[in-house]
Amino acid sequence: MIESKVKEKLKEEKVKKTTAEADVLKRKRKTLILMMLPISVWLLAVVIIPVATMLNMSFKQVEGFVLKDVFTVNNYLKFFKVEMYWRLFLKSFRMAFIVAIVAIIISYPLAYFIARRIKKFKNILFMLIIVPLWVSYLIRIIAWRSILGNRGFLNVFLMQLGIIKEPLEIFLYNQFAVIITLIYIAIPFVFIPLYTALEKIPDALISASRDLGASGARTFMHVVLPLSRPGLVTGFMLSFIIALGDYIIPKELGGVGGIMYGNVIWHQFGLINDWPLGAALGFILLTVALIVLILSRKLGSKEGVFF
């Protein structure tokens, strides 16, 4: 008799416990959903819907001036069949790669010195590199026309030195101008993650390395460089992706020889009026950029993928 009563009581307690637990879980889930709502709405509006729209568009077809509501992969096939498209993509890929590498070569010593060697004016120097980002992108690009042009800073400088007699036209409206300007734009985006990574390296590690027998150069190779890898990878990834799809710089400074993949996409939404093709070409660019991002994370950008 008592045994069964005890068993009943235990069951009661168990049920009470599980319903109480379930209530707590339910409340937690509600709170979680509420907290996720704003970011989900934002993601939906700013990222998912536009990309989905673009994807949807890429499977349609244009005949004359009419958008036909069909499903076709023709636009994607065009990318591979028409030489201009995939060639231009490879060219942009190559250029973006050069831009990223050179931007790193320039930014690394800069970041290293300011992060690790300068004590007094650290903040000012850091700001000096960041402040140009506050100036309009277009204006900074057009400034390079003034630098590279016939009456620009570079030509005047060379003429004053007596190296050339007449202004050279080879600096502007070509691939060279595009690459130079892209590098200039990329530098702050490489500098910031590199600076962050280099600054975080504790001085004690450097002391330990030197104490254990490594000279300055070997300390750099074996300790500083490996530890700055997350910053390097993030910097490379950011500058590469920025350079890959850019179309304004080629438009303003590229002339004919400096045209890039971004321009071709842009044309589809202008005069040519082939939005589906533009969407398909754009989606291909997006996919490649995503692959580069994923590869970068794998290669060691564990922290600081987005700064």
Binding site: S207, A208, R210
Partner: protein, 368 residues
């Protein structure tokens, strides 16, 4: 005079206007466990870093094994450092960390392997070869830092407060382990600490530093029982400080008047003048309470406070209304039935009285 393994001569270090180390000179013998002891900011870490080569002295010379290394960079000096926060390379596993100094000496992996294995065994970390710094506890990281610094068999090992971050029981265990390793390897240890108990436990000799200068160098016994300055007396162990006036100088004793009492002490090498103000010191554990045996010095004072400290009682008494004296007695030696305000007789021997000139008063450290 035996040859010193490490010798510092007139070393001064200035950072801008601040003089961190002020003209110190001393020598350390081979195989010695030598400690630099002092409060924060006394210059002990700076001195250690100068021996390592991580700081350049402003003035003076440093000799290692007879060679002038003052201008030699750290990676070419045959001394290694164990840092306070261990400084384990986070991007290498334990094995690579320990291989690092050998690699810098261009010793190939195959040759290095047995040495690495052996040192890991010595510090009891053989199972942890493939772990990374983030996967180790504080004590484990400390042992790896030690192994890494020892694997190259340096002439001297420099340790910068290596046990500071460990909890008490682990610290005590590591103190013993470190001392064992030092004896086994026979390597000179230069140990920086602010913990006077630690220094006394482990060292062959201690240099007590304060404000950039060395107050005294000696064995733990000498430092404890025969401190040369009031600072050393106050920094090591517990010490009572009383103020009085020298009223009589005899052949082998000095008589100092403190309030209504006369205290005698042994006359040392110091020359004091009659009428001079003096600091009179005696260790709490040397003071007995209500002893049946007559002591050289006896004072009657009122019981102010009795604190239980586990194995001992800490008894505070007052006389003359405001002068305090502390005595520590064994648990058995204290009659707990005493009332506050009751008169007690405190006694100690004249050999246990230490005196200093009054101008040393401002160098006493009041906290530890």
């Amino acid at each position: 005079m035996d040859k010193f393994e490490i010798e510092l001569t007139n070393i001064t270090k200035r950072f801008g206007n601040v003089t961190a180390v002020n003209n110190i000179s001393f020598g350390i013998r081979s195989g010695e466990f030598f400690s630099l002891l002092g409060p924060s900011g006394c210059g002990k870490t700076t001195t250690l870093r100068m021996i390592a080569g991580l700081e350049d002295p402003t003035l003076g010379r440093i000799l290692l094994s007879g060679k002038d290394v003052t201008n030699v960079p750290p990676h070419r000096r045959n001394v290694n450092t164990v840092f306070q926060d261990y400084a384990i390379f986070p991007h290498m596993n334990v094995y690579e960390n320990i291989y690092f100094p050998l690699r810098m000496r261009r010793i190939p992996r195959k040759v290095a392997a047995p040495r690495i294995k052996k040192i890991l065994e010595t510090v009891n970390m053989s199972r942890f070869e493939n772990r990374y710094s983030g996967q180790l506890s504080g004590g484990q990281r400390q042992r790896i830092a030690l192994a890494r610094a020892l694997v190259n068999e340096p002439k001297a090992l420099l340790l910068d407060e290596p046990l500071g971050a460990l909890d008490f029981k682990l610290r005590v265990a590591m103190q013993i382990a470190l001392k064992d390793i030092q004896r086994e390897f026979g390597i000179t240890f230069i140990y920086v600490t602010h913990d006077q108990l630690e220094a006394i436990t482990m060292s062959d000799r201690i240099a007590v530093m304060n404000d950039g200068i060395i107050d005294q160098i000696g064995t733990p016994d000498k430092i404890y029982n025969k401190p040369k300055t009031a600072f050393v007396a106050s920094f090591i162990g517990e010490m009572n400080f009383l103020e009085g006036k020298l009223i009589r100088k005899k052949d082998d004793t000095l008589v100092v008047k403190i309030a209504d009492f006369e205290v005698i002490c042994e006359r040392g090498e110091n020359d004091f003048l009659e009428g001079e103000d003096m600091l009179v010191c005696v260790r709490p554990e040397r003071i007995s309470i209500n002893s049946h045996i007559k002591s050289g010095n006896e004072i009657i004072a009122k019981l102010k406070r009795a604190i239980f400290r586990g194995s001992k009682f800490e008894i505070t008494v007052t006389f003359n209304n405001n002068i305090e004296l502390v005595s520590t007695v064994e648990d058995k030696g204290w009659n707990k039935s005493f009332n506050l305000g009751e008169n007690l007789k405190l006694g100690w021997e004249k050999e246990d009285t230490i005196v200093f000139p009054m101008d040393m008063k401002n160098r006493i450290i009041r906290y530890k």
